[in-house]
Symmetry: C2
Subunit: 404 residues, 2 copies
């Protein structure tokens, strides 16, 4: 597997575009992704009981072959009642009319303000504009990645290529964060395209596994959104033999898909609202995988710990405290903890007891852009990683008056 | 029942004091509470898997008759290993030696930095000073309430009197917040004294019930501490007939105890770190009490909603979103939501659909010091209230460098 410059338009047969349709004041706010042929589709959606209309729509349609996706930012089409469902349907139908398929072959996604109905005139006009300029070049994919952004400060795209039984298969991805992100996803949208041929069942299995240890292991603010969706499309145009479970081809493809998801998830965490630092919690030697995940997620979700990292304060007690209320089963007296970054590493606690450490060195280590909390549970051999960001003044500023 | 000026020294036979012993640089940091006679004791403690030494100590001793409590701020004696347990024991023994009882008749509590051993010389000296000046006057109770503060900006005390079978029973309380507070308590300490006579069993039952809908329904930052404790002492010096379950006296006493706990809990939420506003979430017409509690707590715990309230932004979608991931069972299309404060009230959503509302009026309502979110689930008759505060720049500032 190799990482190449590219994104969602890099796999054969995919076009995309992103435009400013007019939902937002100035920035790009609509994107489409089109495949030349019908795709196998797999999806993971928010587990929030309050699901936005596009999520409810997609959960129903994802079992169909899919030919295109319409995405808008600036309006989440969430808590919009029956009108919201009709708008999602009309959005899909409009796109379907332009590319010659049924509305049931189109997926939709929205992100932005909750509780306001979609401006359908703008949406329909935007789809036409998107369709008229959609291209398979790199820039078209980048434009789409830009159009799905809300409070994101950078586009999040990635692309890998791998060999599947002698054929080159390409997988591209684009994602947006950045607030309302929590384990089990949040207003996080991710679109993955591939020209690989893969069975529906194998595709869903590989995506579920990839999401479990990537998007479901990031937290920005503990809020799980009504809209988050990971949608993956495979059009088979690489003409490889169809990938099925239990093969080396499957393992290779699943590994590449996980890489795509993990890299995009980390980009989302690093670009969390107001974030100045990426925090990685690495919990190892845990009794079970579930315990390891619970503890890692709890550390990166703790407001107190996140604020301490913002201040480059080696307040490891807050990490241990967060592990304590995570629901994981462990013995606090077995835990050893250290901080690491490009500036070095330092042990701060051993087997539940504080270590006298060099505060100056700790400050230097915690001043880096990426901080890792290494947590040894000494109770088994399972591990997990979770990613989050520091809690800053700007998080409060961004969210204190988001709608205006 | 009537509310009177007073606190933990108001019930007959209780003395208290608070001093600066030297754990903190300047502020008061040690307090004691002493009863003239042995007390029935009841307690509720953190459910965090990582429990501080004083919590582990008290959970063991609370079944004994109790004569005194030693509290320190500035150091949590948490994550301090076996030395921490020995220090808790030595603290209790020192106090016991001074007031003539066994160490097993003393409770201890600590709050402050995690992972640093108690400075026992200072603690022992502090106990002696506290003992030498302990008094039953109002000011002595206030001094104790001040000495348990960490980042609290105000003392939190309260006192009520009620008639139990012709005898006047007094209940006083003192609490501290203010960060690391979450449903199921957190670095929250509360001490309640009463001269009422009540059976151990009835006392524990009344305290559990009072804490469930008070301290367990507040959230400042989602972090549950290693130290939080509610300790209640009853010395019987009001000479009422012992209160037992299933009597009117029990109901009256339980109601007064709940009042004490609720008022102190609300004071803790209002004084949350960096808070400028108290948020009350009132969920009603829910199918079950459990669902109502889950939804109310989830609303006041949402960073996004808390930041919106800080900005006086009527972003009700964030409240509904938080209800959605609370784990409660409800139909989003049944929910109606409004905001209320001393400046009026405004409906913003009805039966899952947005209402066009006056943004100016909403802003005015949300600019008050206390905001109530009224949430009608239209699915039953159960209700719950939870309290929290807004998320502000100062929360980040306070927690970015707490240790220095």
């Amino acid at each position: 597997m190799k990482v190449i410059k590219g994104g969602i338009t890099s796999p054969k047969g995919f076009k995309a575009s992103g435009v400013h349709a007019g939902i937002k004041k100035q920035k790009k706010d609509m994107a489409i992704i089109i495949s030349d042929s019908l795709c196998a589709a797999a999806g993971c959606f928010t587990t929030n009981r309050v699901k936005a209309a596009p999520v409810l729509y997609d959960m129903e349609k994802i079992k169909n072959p899919i030919k295109g996706v319409v995405v808008n930012s600036g309006n989440a089409n969430a808590c919009t009642g029956e009108q919201g469902m009709r708008d999602a349907e009309e959005t899909a139908d409009t796109m379907a009319g332009l590319i010659g398929c049924g509305g049931e072959n189109i997926l939709v996604a929205s992100t932005g303000v909750i509780g306001v109905n979609l401006p359908m005139d703008i949406i329909k006009e935007g789809i036409k504009t998107c369709h008229s300029i959609a291209g398979s070049d790199f820039e078209s994919g980048e434009a789409a990645a830009e159009a799905i952004m809300t409070t994101d400060t950078v586009k999040k795209t990635i692309c890998v290529q791998l060999d599947i039984n002698g054929r080159t298969v390409t997988i591209g991805g684009a994602a947006k964060g950045c607030g309302m992100i929590n384990p089990n996803m949040a207003t996080m949208l991710c679109f993955i395209t591939t020209d690989g041929a893969i069975s529906d069942k194998a595709f869903k299995k590989a995506l579920d596994a990839a999401v479990t240890d990537s998007f479901n292991m990031i937290s920005v603010d503990g809020d799980m959104s009504t809209n988050d969706s990971v949608i993956a499309l495979a059009n088979g145009m690489a003409e490889n033999e169809e990938i099925t479970e239990g093969t080396k081809a499957y393992d290779d493809f699943a590994e590449a898909l996980f890489y795509i998801c993990r890299e995009l998830a980390i980009k989302c965490a690093a670009d969390g609202e107001g974030a100045t630092k990426l925090i990685e919690a690495h919990v190892y030697n845990a009794a079970t995988k579930k315990d390891a995940r619970l503890m890692a997620r709890s550390i990166v979700s703790s407001n107190l710990f996140k604020a301490a990292i913002f201040g480059s304060d080696a307040n490891w007690g807050r990490a241990l405290c967060a592990m304590g209320y995570s629901g994981a089963d462990f013995d606090p007296l077995g835990v050893s903890l250290s901080f690491a970054s490009e500036n070095g590493s330092i042990a701060v606690m051993e087997k539940g007891r504080p270590i006298v450490f060099d505060e100056e060195l700790a400050k230097k280590i915690l001043s880096a852009d990426k901080i890792t909390v290494e947590t040894d549970i000494s109770d088994g051999s399972e591990e997990a990683r979770a990613w989050g960001c520091d809690l800053t003044y700007d998080y409060v500023k961004i969210n204190g008056d988001y709608r205006s």
